[in-house]
């Protein structure tokens, strides 16, 4: 018996979760998410500059059951405002979980990593602004490796730094530029099963891959909107077979590449009404009628500001849309065929 594994990949729309809210069930300009234990997930809402109350971490399930939220936002605007109070958020960008389920959230205004327990209790913080070893400037991506070390995308220093969980500096790689191993305002990060590191090299319109020691392995993507081209890639994720998912922010699409960086497929979105969304419409029933006569409702399917992507061990692909306050979930259909010739 032979097993044929096709190079192709199929993304089956599963469902959409979220709705635009400043609190409670829903998100507001979400920028990042991470899968938690069992069917839970943590979603980071950035909210509007003038609505810091909408900045928060929401805990919910894949089936859109609301569990809770923590880490409310603050603003620097008012005098005497405790803008750097422990656990608060101003410009949150990224989230990661360690092996014990603790939650790490990066804030690119405060240049700070806040640490919470899995149920949202504030634990600690670290981060020193600057450009020296271990200092950070606009952290934009977080990932935790097999050693429980924290890899941090140090955006405005155009490099990746590695820390212990309590913020002790270990190492770094990268510098500003467009050569191999160089970055221009990098954003998303992920680590695959073998420990290799992928970086969304945002303003270079490409993805770069490194080994666990930061040695350059490969790159793909050029500027543009054709298949395989990128316009400010924000997030990157890798599935268990090594396929690479990229939120192509400027092109409002998700692209999928093979482990070698060959373009495979793309989608511009298949959004549907979420459970929370239906509840909102039920509470405002005239809007069901408005939807019946609305023109251009098909736009609701499309991605608007795809800003982060995550793939879990069950082949769920999560695309976070900042401008639509929701997450579109796809199922990767693994094309495995058993048998000989047809």
């Amino acid at each position: 018996m032979t097993t044929t594994r096709f190079a192709g990949i199929t993304l089956q729309p599963s469902h959409t979760i979220g709705r635009a809210e400043f609190s409670g069930p829903g998100f507001r300009n979400p920028v990042a998410m991470v899968r938690g234990e069992e069917d839970t997930m943590y979603v980071v809402s950035r909210s509007y500059d003038y609505r810091p109350d909408g900045k928060r971490i929401t805990i919910c399930t894949l089936d859109e059951d609301y569990i809770g939220e923590f880490a409310r936002g603050v603003t620097t605007a008012g005098e005497g405002d405790p803008s750097d109070a422990d656990g608060s958020l101003i410009w949150p960008t990224a989230i990661a979980l360690d092996s014990e389920g603790n939650v790490y959230v990066a804030d690119e205004w405060l240049n700070r990593i806040s640490v919470y327990s899995g149920d949202g209790a504030y634990l600690s913080k670290w981060g020193t602004p600057g450009s020296g070893d271990g200092e950070i400037s606009s952290p934009s991506g977080l990932a935790i490796d097999q050693d429980d070390h924290l890899l941090l995308v140090d955006c405005d220093n155009h490099r990746i730094q590695k820390f212990t969980r309590d913020g002790q500096y270990i190492s770094q790689f990268g510098s500003k530029g467009d050569g191999d191993g160089q970055f221009n305002m990098p954003w998303g990060i992920t680590i695959d099963r073998s420990g290799d590191i992928y970086i969304a090299d945002w303003r270079n319109d490409r993805i770069q891959k490194f080994d666990r020691n930061g040695n350059f392995l490969m790159k793909f993507g050029t500027s543009g909107s054709a298949d395989g081209q990128l316009d400010r890639p924000t997030g990157v994720a890798v599935d268990r077979d090594g396929n690479i998912y990229v939120t192509d922010w400027g092109n409002d699409r998700l692209q999928v590449f093979s482990a070698d960086g060959e373009y495979l497929t793309q989608t511009t979105g298949d959004g549907s009404l979420s459970k929370w969304g239906k509840e909102k419409l039920d509470a405002n029933s005239e809007m069901w009628q408005e939807r019946d006569i609305a023109q251009g409702l098909e736009r609701e399917k499309l991605f608007w500001g795809p800003i982060a992507v995550t793939v879990d061990d069950d082949d769920n692909v999560f695309v976070v849309e900042s401008a639509r306050s929701r997450i579109q979930i796809y199922r990767r259909q693994v094309p495995v065929f058993f048998g000989g010739r047809l």
Binding site: R19, V31, I293, A294
Partner: protein
């Protein structure tokens, strides 16, 4: 560099833009007045804002649905644009072609209208009116989507004539009749918008313009003495060639860019403040084929403009942005922008949300005891903040000249803020106040603070409220 060159450049930049730092004034004065006018009239020659970086840091700007988010964006754009006249002309048209969020409740939809002003605002007035007539937020704001061939709604037809193109009258005569209003409205039947997608659960989507021929009145209309089966674009053609349109637009241009005129409702019976300048603009309107940029070129290079320094009360947007461009805060993304933008509203100009379709009354009507206090407090807070780079620049420039008397310090501060001029009595009072601390000596502990205080005194004067 002759100080008069700086003063003239400061005047041009206040009017054609939102003011400029002294460094920029020096650079532009060196480049020359006419060359600067030419550059301003070609905004495409200068880089646009880096929207990718801005949308990365202001994540809500990708969607930009809320009014407040749009106000923050526009404030940032006015502070940081390298195309000042592009923003200024958008503000000019926004003040005339008012559309308000209080009715539309969709900031992004209005922003698309403002973007249209940015794109077409210096081009043909006819093209601009076409853009306006097919702009979804305007169609909704003035109910043209409720105007049907069997039951017209006159709102759009009336305001198009009264407030957006011809004006009620000129030289004591009416410019159009009630019948013209009705015929105009008939011609625009069928110009409508798509049905909206409700805001829940994911947020609004913009509406689109559609022309519905089934709802268009195909009968003959008689408009301003011409008869035919007119559609909306025919009406705009007729409007664009009216002398009253040339007058109305010229007068608005003069009021906005040159000197405060009486309020618009009085224009029918009140002659222009400077008829010669208005006629110059009217001539250029027709000569250039209704080209707004050509009219502005003639205007900016005219003596009528150059001699009109401080003949206008700053609008709230000009008051806030002008100060910000000098103190150089918010030159990169940072939190709190909405609070900064709110100052424009506190001073009486809720951008993208004017009080009525008539827009804001301008000139002296911007000022009351409340808004004046807002203006003074805002400007004084900014120029007195010694941590701001633009304030530090001014302190450093003053310091580079060595010890200075109170008189020299006051005059130099006036110069650095943008070649402001004070009445003799005001100037004497400021000098007297500053002189109580003796000469200002760079390097002494209170030097920076005293410069900051001098700047604060100046921006608290009546004269600083004029552009």
């Amino acid at each position: 560099m002759a100080n008069n060159d700086i003063a003239l450049m400061a005047h041009l930049m206040r009017r054609a833009g939102f003011g400029a730092s002294y460094e920029e004034l020096e650079q532009r004065a060196a480049a020359g007045y006419e060359a600067t006018v030419d550059e301003l009239l070609h905004p495409e020659s200068q880089p646009s804002l880096e929207m990718d970086v801005l949308e990365r840091r202001f994540v809500d700007w990708r969607e930009m649905n809320a009014l407040e988010v749009n106000q923050a964006f526009w404030t940032y754009a006015m502070i940081n644009t390298q195309r000042p006249l592009e923003e200024k002309i958008a503000l000019f048209w926004h003040g005339i072609f008012c559309t308000g969020n209080s009715k539309c409740e969709h900031g992004r939809q209005i922003k698309l209208q403002i973007d249209m002003f940015r794109e077409r605002g210096l081009g043909s007035f006819r093209d601009l009116l076409m853009g306006l007539s097919s702009d979804p937020s305007m169609i909704f704001y003035l109910d043209n989507c409720m105007s049907h061939k069997d039951a017209i709604n006159e709102n759009w037809g009336r305001e198009l004539l009264e407030l957006f193109s011809m004006g009620v009258g000129m030289d004591g005569d009416a410019n159009y009749s009630e019948d013209d209003v009705k015929e105009c409205a008939r011609a625009f039947t069928g110009w409508t918008i798509t049905n909206a997608i409700p805001r829940y659960p994911y947020g609004r989507y913009e509406a689109g313009f559609i022309y519905n021929p089934a709802d268009h009145d195909e009968e003959d209309k008689t408009f301003l003495g011409e008869t035919g089966n007119f559609n909306g674009d025919d009406i705009i053609d007729i409007i664009a060639r009216q002398p009253s349109t040339a007058r109305f637009i010229s007068r608005h241009m003069y009021n906005f860019f040159v000197a405060d005129d009486v309020q618009v409702p009085a224009w029918q019976n009140t002659p222009p403040r400077d008829l010669e300048a208005i006629q110059m603009l009217e001539d250029e309107y027709f000569r250039s084929g209704y080209n707004i940029g050509s009219m502005l070129r003639v205007l900016f290079n005219s003596d009528a403009f150059k001699n009109a320094r401080f003949a206008k009360v700053k609008s709230p947007a000009e008051a806030v942005i002008g100060t910000m461009r000098v103190v150089k805060d918010y030159t990169t993304p940072k939190p709190g922008l909405h609070n900064l933008a709110s100052n424009i509203r506190y001073m009486g100009q809720d951008l993208m949300n004017p009080p009525t379709v008539e827009g804001w009354h301008t000139g002296g009507e911007w000022i009351d005891s409340g808004t004046l206090v807002e203006r003074i407090n805002f400007a004084a807070d900014q120029v007195g903040n010694l941590e701001l780079p633009g304030v530090q620049d001014m302190v450093a420039r003053l310091g580079s000249g060595g010890a200075a008397t109170a008189e020299e310090t006051v005059d130099r501060c006036l110069e650095l803020l943008g070649a402001y001029e004070l009445a003799d009595e005001t100037r004497d009072q400021l000098i007297e106040h500053v002189s109580r601390g003796g000469d200002l000596v760079p390097g002494t502990p209170d030097f920076s603070q005293r410069v900051g205080q001098t700047l604060q005194l100046i921006v608290s004067t009546q004269e600083y409220q004029f552009a």
